[in-house]
C-alpha cells in the first residue's frame, strides 16, 4: 500500500489550507430563512421530524422520459416542429369530407415518421436509463442498526451515516465527519465536476474527526441546518449543531457527489443532499444545444415551401370559387354535379365559403410539397454519419485506445464549413507531458538536446540547411527512456557534476528541485522503482530530474523530506526537516519551502516564474544574473517553460518572528486571509540568492505542424489561445507552422515603458486609460500595415498578450481588433485566461458570422468549447471535462485534419445535397398534383391513388436519399486530403447557397411540368393499346406516377458521384419496388385497391405506349439538369469537378507537378493572395 507510509502524516501541519476556517459571513445569519431551510438530522433519518420533511431519495434519473410519460412527452417533442404540426392537423382534418384522400393514407406516413423518430428517442433514452440503473445500484456502506452494512446508492436517505472507501465515488453530497487520517483530512478528486485532476483537500471538524468506531457513532447525533439545494459548486452555507454548540459549515467539510476519494483509506460522512438535490445533479443542465447553419437555413426553406403551398392553394381556391359560382348559371351549369343538391363544399350559392373550404383541401392536397420525412431522414443520416466518424481507423489512437467520438450528431455538416479554428496550446498542440531538457546553473547552460522548436528556429535562420545532425533527442543512446526526462549532458550526468567548477551551486540547485515540491513518492513493490504522484507534470519532471542526477527524493513524512544523495560516489541518506510550505498559486507564481537541514541551517528554497523571481533576488552578489537571464530568454525562444531556482539562508530570529506572523495570518478568519498570507510570504521570500533556471519542454504532438499546414492550405484560419509567455507562444507558433518564414508579425503588448512607469504609481484608472490608448494606437498601426501590404503578397500574424486582450475585447476596441485580426492569417493570444478564451471565441463567432471551431483539452477550455459553433475536445491527459463539453472528441490534434477535410467535407456535401434533393423530389411530385388540379377545375381531386402518394416519401424515394446522405463521396478521402482547397466549398457554402437551393427548386418545378405535360399531351383522347382502350383517370395516374418515380430516382443517380452496390441497390430497388407494389396492390380486393385494381397487369404493362412514354418523360426530365451539369463541369467547374477530372485522367497520380504547371501556379498564387485579401475586406 503506497499510502500506508503516509498514513500518519499530518499534512495539516504543512498545508496552509488546514488552518482554513470558514469566515463567519452574513450568509450564515440567513440559515432557517427562505432559501436556507434545509434541516438534516444526522444519523437519525427515521426521526419523525425528518420523515416529515420528505426529502427526496438518492434515486437518480437522467432519462428524458419515463415508461409512463414516454408516449405523450415524446409526441409533444415531435410536434414542436412546425412541419409535424402541419401534418398532424392535416391528419385530423383528413377525417372530415374536406380531405382529398382517405384518412388512413395520410396517417400512415405520419405514423411511420413519428414512429421512427420515437424509436430513435427511445433507444437513446434506454441507454441513459441503463447508466442510471448502474449508478443507482452501486454499493455503499451505510450505518444502520448500530453497524455498517452494504446498501445500494438509491436507498440512501438524508441523514444517513456512510463510510466511503478509497477510490470510491461519493454517493451523494456528504458532510465529512472523519477520515482515516487522525486529523480528519481527506483528498478528493473532482474530475467529474470541474475536470481538474489535482487532488483537493477536505477537512473535518476537530470534534468529529475522532469518530471512528461503531460505538462512537451509536451516540452520535447532530443537526445540520443549511441552504436549500442549489447549483453553486463553490459555496456552501450551513451550520452544524453538535453537543449543544453551533459550528458554521463551509465547503471544506462538504464532499460532493461524483467526486472520488483519493489517497485516503476511508471517510465517514453524513448524507446532506441526495439524488437530484446534489450539487452535481443541480448542475446537470443539458449542454447548449447547437444547430448547424444548414439546418437553420433548411427551416427557412421549409417556410418558403409553406408559402408556396399556401399561395398555390389560394390560387386554386380562387379559380375553384369562380368555377363553382358559375354552376348555377344556365350557360355553364354542370348539371352532372347536381349543384342544386350540394353540400357547402361545392355550393355555388356560397362560392366564397366553398372557396375557403377548398383552400383547406388544397393545403392538404399540396402537402406533398413539404417533405414529411425530411427531419427524420436527416436525423437518421446524421446518426449513421457519426457512426462512420467513430469507426474511422485513421482517427483511432492506438496508444490510448481512443477512437474519435461524435458526441452529438447535430453538427456533422458544420464540420465542413469551419472558417476559424480557435485552439488551446497545452495538451492540444502539445502532449502535455513535460520533459526536463535543459537547465542553467550558476550561469552555465547544461543540456544538449535540441527541441522541435529549436529545429524549426534553426531551419528558419538557415533556411532549412540544418538537417538532422542533432539526431534523436529522445535520449536513446543505449540508455533507457525515462518519462519526463530528456536531458543529456555528460558534464553533470552520472555524478560528474562534482568535477564542475561550480559544483556547490549545482548541488544546491538540485536539492531545491528535490525538496521544493508537493509530490509524494510511490514505490512499486515488485520492481522497487520509485515514481512520483505530483500535482502537475512540470513538478514530476523536476523531481525526476533531481533523481536522475543523484538527488533521489524517496520519502516524505509529515515533517521531513528524505533524499538519497550521491556524495563522493556513495549514496547518503539525508533528511530535511520541513518547517513551512508556501504553496504555488497562479497569482504568486512561485512556491517556497522552509527547511532545516542536518547542519541545523534554516533554508528557504524557492522556485518560480522569472517575472516574479528576479525582483526578489537580493541586490548584491548575483554573479550570474545576466547569464541566467540570457539563458532564460534562449529557453523561452526554444519554446521551453522556464522556472527560476533560488534559495536563501535564514537567521533563526528572523524565522521565529516571521513564523508567528505567518501562522497568525493563516489562522485568521477574516475575508482578506489570503492577502495576509501572501503578505507574510512576501516578507520572507526576498533577498533570494539565484541558483539557476530550469527548462522543461512540452513536446508538440505528432503531426501537428503538418496538420496546421494542411488546414491553412484549406483556407481555415487558425487562432491559438494560450496561457504561455509571448516568446514561447511565438516559437511554438513557428514550430507548428502557424507562423511561417516571411510572415510579418503585428505584436500588441502592454510592456512599454510608459505603462510600466504608470504601474509603479499604481493608479489604476490612469493605467487603464493609457493601456487603452496604447492598444488602440498599436491596432491602428497594424491596420495601416495591413492596408499598405494589400497589394503585395505578405502574410501577417497577429500576436497579442492577455492584458492587451482585456482592453482589446472592450466594446470600443473590439471591432477594430477583429478587423485587424481577421486580416491576419494567424493569430496568437498569449497569457489568456479561460474567460478570455471564451470571449475571443464569442467575438470571432459573432463578428465574422462564420463557423468557428474551438479545440481544447482542459477544463479551462470548456467555456471556449461551448461558445464556439463546434467544440472539439482532445481526450488527452487533462481529464474528461473538455470532452464532456465537446461536440466531437478526438485523441490527437492531427486527427482534426481528417475530421474536417474528409468527414466534414463529406458530411457537408451529403447533407447539402440531400436537403436540396429532398426539396426537388417533393416539389417535382407536388407540382404534378397542381397541374392536374388545373385540369380538374381545381376541385381538389388528387391525380394519384391515395396509397401511391402515402408511399412516395416513405418507400419509393426515401432510401436512395438516405444512401446519398450516408455514403456519397465526391472524391475519396485521399484526394480530400491532397487537395485541401476543396474544403472551401463548405466554407463558402457553395453547395447550399440560395442560387443552388432555388435552382434545385426550379428544377423540381421544371421536372413536374415536363412530366405532366408530356403525359397529358401524349395520352389525351386516343387509345393507347391496340384493343382500342383509352386512357382514363386510373391509367393516367399510374403513367404519371411511374414517370415521377423514375425521374426523381434517376435524377438521384445522375447527381451522385459514387456508386457502390448500395446506391445501385437503393435507387434501382426503389423503382423496382414501385412495380412490385403496384402488382401486389392491384391484386388486392377492389374494395382495397380501388383505382389501382389490376391497372398495371391488365392495362399498362401490355401497352408499348406506357413504356415508351416512361422513357421519353424520364429522359426529357433529366435533360435540363444533365445539360447544365455537363456545361458546368466543362466550362465553369467546381473544385470537386476539377479533382474528379484529374482523377479520371489519372493526372493526379503523378507525384511531381510538371514545370509548366508549376510556373503557372506560382504566378497564380500571387493573384490568389490578392484576391484572398480583397475578399476578406
Amino acid at each position: 500500500m503506497p499510502f500506508g507510509r503516509n498514513e500518519r502524516i499530518r499534512f495539516s501541519k504543512i498545508y496552509s489550507l488546514s488552518c482554513f476556517r470558514p469566515s463567519t459571513s452574513d450568509e450564515h445569519g440567513q440559515i432557517g430563512q427562505k432559501g436556507y431551510s434545509r434541516v438534516v438530522y444526522c444519523n437519525d433519518p427515521e426521526n419523525p421530524e425528518a420523515l416529515q420533511l420528505r426529502y427526496r431519495g438518492n434515486y437518480v434519473s437522467t432519462t428524458k422520459y419515463t415508461a409512463v410519460n414516454f408516449i405523450p412527452k415524446s409526441l409533444f417533442e415531435q410536434f414542436r416542429r412546425v412541419a409535424n404540426i402541419y401534418f398532424l392537423v392535416v391528419a385530423c382534418v383528413s377525417f372530415s369530407p374536406l380531405a382529398p384522400f382517405r384518412a388512413s393514407s395520410i396517417l400512415f406516413p405520419l405514423l411511420v415518421v413519428i414512429g421512427a423518430t420515437m424509436a430513435k428517442e427511445g433507444v437513446e433514452d434506454w441507454r441513459r436509463r441503463k447508466q442510471d440503473i448502474k449508478a443507482n445500484n452501486r454499493k455503499i456502506h451505510v450505518y444502520r442498526d448500530h453497524s455498517f452494512s452494504q446498501s445500494k446508492w438509491k436507498d440512501l436517505r438524508v441523514g444517513d451515516l456512510v463510510k466511503v472507501h478509497k477510490d470510491e465515488y461519493f454517493p451523494s453530497d456528504l458532510l465529512l465527519l472523519s477520515s482515516s487520517y487522525p486529523d480528519g483530512i481527506c483528498y478528493v478528486e473532482t474530475m467529474n465536476l470541474d475536470g481538474e485532476t489535482n487532488l483537493k483537500l477536505k477537512h473535518a471538524f476537530d470534534f468529529t474527526s475522532s469518530l471512528h468506531d461503531d460505538n462512537s457513532f451509536h451516540k452520535f447525533k447532530a443537526v445540520v441546518k443549511c441552504e436549500d439545494p442549489n447549483e453553486d459548486l463553490y459555496s456552501f452555507v450551513g451550520s452544524l449543531s453538535y453537543n449543544g454548540q453551533q459550528h458554521p459549515l463551509s465547503l471544506q467539510q462538504i464532499l460532493l457527489r461524483d467526486s472520488k476519494l483519493r489517497n485516503t483509506e476511508y471517510i465517514y460522512g453524513v448524507v446532506i443532499f441526495t439524488g437530484h438535490d446534489t450539487k452535481v445533479m443541480q448542475n446537470a443542465t443539458d449542454p447548449p444545444s447547437k444547430r448547424s447553419k444548414i439546418e437553420r437555413r433548411m427551416d427557412k426553406i421549409i417556410y418558403i415551401l409553406f408559402t408556396t403551398l399556401i399561395s398555390i392553394s389560394f390560387i386554386g381556391s380562387i379559380f375553384f370559387g369562380i368555377r363553382t359560382s358559375r354552376d348555377l348559371n344556365g350557360s355553364y351549369g354542370r348539371w352532372y354535379l347536381e349543384p342544386t343538391r350540394t353540400t357547402a363544399l361545392y355550393d355555388p350559392k356560397r362560392p366564397v365559403l366553398a372557396a375557403f373550404l377548398h383552400f383547406l383541401t388544397g393545403l392538404m392536397l399540396y402537402g406533398y410539397l413539404i417533405p414529411i420525412s425530411l427531419y427524420v431522414s436527416i436525423e437518421m443520416v446524421k446518426v449513421l454519419q457519426s457512426i462512420f466518424i467513430n469507426q474511422d481507423q485513421d482517427m483511432y489512437h492506438e496508444e490510448t485506445n481512443r477512437p474519435a467520438r461524435a458526441r452529438t450528431s447535430n453538427l456533422n455538416e458544420e464540420l465542413g464549413q469551419v472558417d476559424t479554428i480557435l485552439s488551446d496550446k497545452t495538451g492540444t498542440l502539445t502532449c502535455n507531458s513535460m520533459e526536463f531538457v535543459k537547465c542553467s546553473i550558476g550561469g552555465v547552460a547544461y543540456g544538449r538536446g535540441m527541441t522541435e522548436v529549436e529545429l524549426a528556429l534553426a531551419k528558419r535562420k538557415n533556411l532549412g540547411q540544418v538537417e538532422a545532425d542533432v539526431g534523436d533527442n529522445s535520449g536513446s543512446h543505449g540508455q533507457k527512456v525515462i518519462k519526463g526526462f530528456n536531458f543529456r549532458d555528460e558534464r553533470i550526468m552520472g555524478g560528474q557534476w562534482v568535477n564542475e567548477g561550480n559544483s556547490d551551486v549545482i548541488q544546491k540547485f538540485f536539492r531545491v528541485l528535490a525538496i521544493c515540491h508537493t509530490a509524494i513518492p510511490d514505490v512499486n513493490k515488485d520492481t522497487g522503482e520509485l515514481s512520483y504522484e505530483a500535482e502537475s507534470p512540470d513538478e514530476a519532471a523536476f523531481v525526476i530530474a533531481a533523481r536522475e542526477l543523484g538527488f533521489e527524493f524517496f520519502q516524505r513524512t509529515q515533517t521531513s523530506i528524505s533524499l538519497h544523495e550521491c556524495e563522493n560516489g556513495k549514496k547518503v541518506d539525508r533528511s530535511y526537516e520541513l518547517l513551512n510550505m508556501i504553496e504555488f498559486s497562479s497569482a504568486r507564481k512561485r512556491m517556497s519551502v522552509i527547511i532545516r537541514n542536518a547542519e541545523n541551517q534554516l533554508l528557504l528554497l524557492c522556485k518560480g516564474a522569472d517575472s516574479v523571481m528576479f525582483e526578489r533576488l537580493s541586490k548584491e552578489s548575483q554573479p550570474f544574473e545576466d547569464q541566467t537571464k540570457n539563458h532564460i530568454n534562449k529557453y523561452a525562444e526554444a519554446g521551453l517553460r522556464t522556472l527560476v531556482i533560488a534559495y536563501r539562508p535564514l537567521e533563526e530570529e528572523e524565522y521565529t518572528k516571521w513564523e508567528q506572523e505567518f501562522l497568525k495570518a493563516k489562522t485568521s478568519v477574516s475575508v482578506d486571509r489570503d492577502d495576509l498570507v501572501d503578505a507574510a510570504a512576501e516578507k520572507i521570500e526576498r533577498n533570494l540568492i539565484l541558483l539557476g533556471a530550469t527548462a522543461v519542454e512540452d513536446k508538440l504532438q505528432k503531426g501537428v505542424p503538418e496538420c496546421i499546414q494542411k488546414l491553412s492550405n484549406a483556407g481555415i484560419k487558425m487562432w491559438v489561445l494560450t496561457g504561455d509567455k509571448m516568446e514561447t507562444a511565438i516559437n511554438i507558433g513557428y514550430a507548428c507552422s502557424l507562423l511561417v518564414q516571411g510572415m510579418k508579425q503585428i505584436v500588441i503588448t502592454l510592456d512599454s515603458h510608459d505603462i510600466t512607469a504608470l504601474e509603479k504609481l499604481n493608479d489604476r484608472e490612469a493605467i487603464a486609460k493609457a493601456s487603452r490608448e496604447s492598444i488602440k494606437k498599436q491596432l491602428m498601426d497594424g491596420r495601416s500595415q495591413l492596408d499598405l501590404a494589400k497589394s503585395s503578397a505578405v502574410l501577417f500574424g497577429l500576436i497579442i498578450d492577455g492584458r492587451s486582450l482585456t482592453f482589446a475585447l472592450e466594446k470600443s476596441l473590439e471591432s477594430l481588433f477583429l478587423d485587424v485580426a481577421i486580416d491576419c492569417s494567424s493569430v496568437i493570444c498569449c497569457r489568456s485566461s479561460p474567460k478570455q478564451k471564451a470571449l475571443v471565441t464569442k467575438m470571432v463567432k459573432e463578428g465574422t458570422r462564420k463557423t468557428t471551431l474551438a479545440i481544447g483539452d482542459g477544463a479551462n477550455d470548456v467555456g471556449m468549447l461551448q461558445e464556439a459553433d463546434i467544440g472539439v475536445g482532445i481526450s488527452g491527459a487533462e481529464g474528461m471535462q473538455a470532452v464532456m463539453a465537446s461536440d466531437f472528441a478526438i485523441a490527437q490534434f492531427r486527427f482534426l485534419e481528417r475530421l474536417l477535410l474528409v468527414h466534414g467535407h463529406w458530411c457537408y456535401r451529403r447533407i447539402a445535397m440531400m436537403i436540396c434533393y429532398f426539396f426537388y423530389k417533393n416539389i417535382a411530385f407536388g407540382f404534378t398534383l397542381f397541374w392536374f388540379e388545373a385540369h380538374a377545375s381545381f376541385s381538389g381531386q388528387p391525380a394519384y391513388n391515395d396509397w401511391y402518394m402515402s408511399f412516395y416519401n416513405v418507400f419509393f424515394t426515401s432510401l436512395p436519399v438516405i444512401a446519398l446522405g450516408v455514403f456519397d463521396q465526391d472524391v475519396s478521402a485521399r484526394l480530400c486530403l491532397k487537395y485541401p482547397m476543396l474544403y472551401q466549398e463548405g466554407v463558402q457554402n457553395i453547395l447550399f447557397n440560395w442560387p443552388r437551393i432555388l435552382g434545385w427548386m426550379f428544377n423540381g418545378v421544371l421536372s413536374s411540368m415536363i412530366i405532366f405535360f408530356i403525359c397529358k399531351n401524349s395520352t389525351i383522347h386516343q387509345s393507347f393499346r391496340s384493343d382500342g382502350h383509352v386512357i382514363d383517370y386510373e391509367i393516367l395516374g399510374v403513367i404519371m406516377y411511374t414517370c415521377v418515380i423514375w425521374a426523381v430516382n434517376s435524377q438521384m443517380a445522375l447527381s451522385i458521384n459514387y456508386f457502390t452496390w448500395i446506391q445501385h441497390f437503393f435507387i434501382w430497388g426503389s423503382i423496382f419496388f414501385w412495380y412490385v407494389f403496384l402488382i401486389i396492390y392491384g391484386y388486392l380486393n377492389p374494395a382495397w385497391s380501388t383505382t389501382a385494381y389490376r391497372v398495371f397487369t391488365d392495362a399498362c404493362a401490355p401497352s408499348p405506349f406506357y413504356w415508351m412514354t416512361t422513357l421519353l418523360v424520364v429522359v426529357a426530365t433529366l435533360l435540363p439538369y444533365f445539360m447544365y451539369r455537363s456545361f458546368q463541369t466543362r466550362f465553369h467547374p467546381m473544385f470537386h469537378d476539377e479533382i474528379q477530372r484529374r482523377r479520371s485522367e489519372g493526372s493526379e497520380c503523378e507525384g511531381e507537378v510538371p514545370d509548366r504547371v508549376k510556373d503557372k501556379m506560382e504566378h497564380l498564387s500571387e493573384r490568389m493572395k490578392h484576391s484572398h485579401s480583397h475578399r476578406e475586406m
Binding site: 352532372y336 382502350h1029 391488365d1098 415508351m1108 501556379m1161
Partner: protein
C-alpha cells in the same frame, strides 16, 4: 438509362492501401472505412458528347417509328352537338334538350378518306365535361356496384344515394349522369353491324360490377340525369355503364362505344343514326363521334413521335454546341492547392 450507365471510370482505383483482409471482414472493413469499390462517373467531354449523341441516335428513329405508327392510324372525327339541333332551337338549345317531346333523332354523314381496316373503334368524345371533378369522382360506391342492394353504406353517393326513401342501384352522380346518346351506322343502305360487347375492361366486368346486381330505383326522380338502365340485365353486362363509370382523366375525353368488325373502303359514306339525348348544352360542352383504327401504339396522336424526335434532335444539337465550345475554349483553371509546401497551385476563375 444510358445517361449514367456509361460514364463509368476508375473503379476503386483510389482506395487507400488497406491491410490484406479476406472475404467478409474485408467487405466490412471497406464498408466502415467508406472505401467500398465504387464506380465514379465523371462528366468528361467525351462522355458528355457521346451520351448526347447516343441519345439523339436512339431517339430520332424511335420518334420516327412512333410517328409513322400514329400516321398510319385513320380517324374520322365529327362534331354533332350543334348540327343536330333543329334550326328553330338554335338559339335555345336548352329548350331543345329539355323538351322530351322533340325528336332527338339526327343523321350524320361521314366520308371515309382512306381505307380503314377492321376492327374500327367507335368512340364518343365529350369536351368540357369534368369527369375528374372531385365531387363527381367521389360520388359512387364500388361496394354497391359489386354487392348490390345488400350494401347500404352508400353515403358517398350523395346526392344520388336514395330516392323516395329507397336506395338507388347503381348510386351516385357518375351512374346518374350516364351518357345516353345512341349510335347506329349504315353504309349505303346496308346496316353496319356494331359489336357492343367487350368494350369495357375485363377486370371491371369481372371483379368490380356484380353479376347478380340489377339496377334498382334508377333514374326515378323528377330530375333525370342521363341514361336509364335495363333493370333485367345485371350490372356486369351493362358495358356502357362500366365504360362510363371508369372516369376520365381530363375534361376532354373519349369513351369506347363499340367496334365495327368490317373494313371501310375509301370514299365510303357512312351514315350515323344517332339519338342526341345527352345534355352538354347547359355547360357548353361538345360531343363528337369518332371512328378510328388502332395499331400497336394505339390511336392517332403524333405527340409522342414528335416529342421523341424533338428530344433526340435537341440532344444532337447540344452535342454539337458542346463540341464546338469545347474545341474553341481552353479549359478554365480552377484553384486547387497542391501538396508541395503550401504552394498555391493556381488561381480562381
Amino acid at each position: 438509362m444510358e445517361v449514367d450507365a456509361g460514364t463509368t471510370s476508375a473503379v476503386g482505383t483510389d482506395n487507400q492501401p488497406t491491410p490484406v483482409l479476406r472475404g467478409r471482414s474485408k467487405a466490412i472493413h471497406q464498408f466502415t472505412q467508406q472505401t467500398l469499390p465504387a464506380c465514379k462517373p465523371v462528366l468528361t467531354p467525351a462522355w458528355v458528347i457521346g451520351t448526347f449523341f447516343l441519345m439523339g441516335v436512339l431517339f430520332i428513329p424511335v420518334g420516327l417509328i412512333s410517328l409513322h405508327a400514329s400516321q398510319s392510324v385513320n380517324e374520322i372525327v365529327d362534331r354533332y352537338d350543334v348540327d343536330c339541333v333543329p334550326d328553330i332551337f338554335k338559339n335555345n338549345k336548352m329548350a331543345y334538350i329539355k323538351n322530351a317531346s322533340v325528336s332527338k333523332s339526327c343523321h350524320r354523314y361521314l366520308k371515309v378518306h382512306k381505307h380503314m381496316k377492321a376492327p374500327i373503334y367507335i368512340y364518343y368524345q365529350l369536351d368540357n365535361f369534368y369527369q375528374n371533378h372531385r365531387r363527381y369522382v367521389k360520388s359512387r360506391s364500388d361496394e354497391q356496384l359489386l354487392k348490390g342492394l345488400g350494401y347500404n353504406k352508400t353515403s358517398s353517393c350523395e346526392p344520388q344515394a336514395f330516392e323516395n326513401g329507397l336506395p338507388i342501384v347503381p348510386c351516385g352522380l357518375v351512374a346518374w349522369s350516364l351518357f345516353n346518346d345512341t349510335f347506329s351506322f349504315s353504309r349505303g343502305t346496308k346496316k353496319l353491324e356494331i359489336e357492343r360487347k367487350n368494350i369495357a375492361w375485363k377486370s371491371d366486368r369481372e371483379h368490380k360490377f356484380g353479376k347478380n346486381v340489377y339496377p334498382f330505383n334508377f333514374q326515378n326522380s323528377s330530375f333525370i340525369g342521363g341514361g336509364k338502365l335495363d333493370t333485367t340485365i345485371p350490372l356486369s353486362d351493362q358495358e356502357d355503364l362500366i365504360v362510363w363509370m371508369r372516369t376520365a382523366a381530363f375534361p376532354s375525353f373519349r369513351k369506347l362505344y363499340g367496334r365495327i368488325e368490317e373494313d371501310l373502303e375509301e370514299d365510303d359514306i357512312i351514315v350515323v343514326h344517332l339519338m342526341n339525348n345527352y345534355n352538354t348544352y347547359s355547360f357548353g360542352g361538345t360531343k363528337m363521334i369518332v371512328l378510328s383504327t388502332s395499331n400497336w401504339l394505339g390511336g392517332k396522336n403524333s405527340f409522342l413521335g414528335v416529342a421523341y424526335i424533338f428530344v433526340g434532335s435537341s440532344s444532337i444539337l447540344i452535342a454539337f454546341i458542346f463540341l464546338l465550345l469545347h474545341v474553341k475554349n481552353p479549359r478554365p483553371y480552377v484553384c486547387i492547392f497542391l501538396k508541395d509546401e503550401g504552394q498555391f497551385s493556381n488561381g480562381c476563375s
